[in-house]
Subunit: 211 residues, 2 copies
Amino acid sequence: MLKLPHSLQRLINELNRLPGIGPKTAQRLAFYLLKKDNIDISNLSSAIANIKQGIVFCSVCGLMSESDPCNIDKDPKRDHSVVCVVEETLDAQALDKTGEYNGVFHILGGVLNPLEGIGPEQLSIQKLVDRIKNHESGIKEIIIATNPSLEGETTAMHLAKLIRGINQEITKSGNQEIKVSRIARGLPMGGDLEYADDITLMRALEGRREY
Amino acid sequence: MLKLPHSLQRLINELNRLPGIGPKTAQRLAFYLLKKDNIDISNLSSAIANIKQGIVFCSVCGLMSESDPCNIDKDPKRDHSVVCVVEETLDAQALDKTGEYNGVFHILGGVLNPLEGIGPEQLSIQKLVDRIKNHESGIKEIIIATNPSLEGETTAMHLAKLIRGINQEITKSGNQEIKVSRIARGLPMGGDLEYADDITLMRALEGRREY
């Protein structure tokens, strides 16, 4: 039997363990790297080895950052009264990149998923509640931007219910309610009605707005 | 602007340089690694760093190997009179894995590609000629198994012509000619006539065999 050299086979096996990388892609990548200069190889290798270096989680919003509090929470130009709740740092980055959002974020660290044993305690939900209740934070609006998946919607409803509870307390004490909204779901730009799934079409109809 | 931590962004950039890995996949992989144990991370990192360790090229056939001559060329159970000419080590491995081939290999190291400056001198072609002409090697048959691409076909034709030349010398000296064949091209298993391209169909017709 023709056996590949051990070092090569080992790398193929390691690459194959990454999500979305099958045996063929792993082979292709390993042979690609084999032909590369030692500098390129050591760059990639050390980038992987040092990935966790200098990464902290912002104690205010949970964003992955190099400082605590993160740049967003430290920024006086940001509107700290609006908090957008997202699942992960990448979601926050995607929203921020649009340039349309100038508020701050709150990272849940995932979504409710009872089948995988992820309940409210596993997520940064109590921290969000504390943040909202804390008068010093001055939060006036919450935008729930979890993903439009089954779990994301469930989590969004759970959060909305929690905030309604907080609002009842707030109104009793005579203060102003916190606005809660959910990002719009509907047809994506460039999407095609013909190929859209039923739920997307349902949401698009529900969420229609008058001209 | 929300900026990802430097170490994370650096890894995303490095991964993004790999073939077939776009910015989104690079992000996904980087975040996946970020959540992994340090052991998993250092395993991958060191597998990359050590990829070239202990790899030699067989001086007989050019296979990537851990010994010289390689396991295939050292194996007395192999038929050393049949040589299958392939582009790369992976091609040899693919053929060997079928279990149907018991001969030895010759790795060209690529294909003729004048546009990219790859001529016969850049490939292991002279070595193949020497190997065939050398009586001690006892070669009786050559199977040309370059890829069925434009370059692969050109290279195959070039090799066939070279071997015909050698055969003329051989017959003059009264010895037996070397058999040359090209692996069959046609419809792959599970393929669909309807979706096959013209050249594949042409080859499938040309290569038809009587029942």
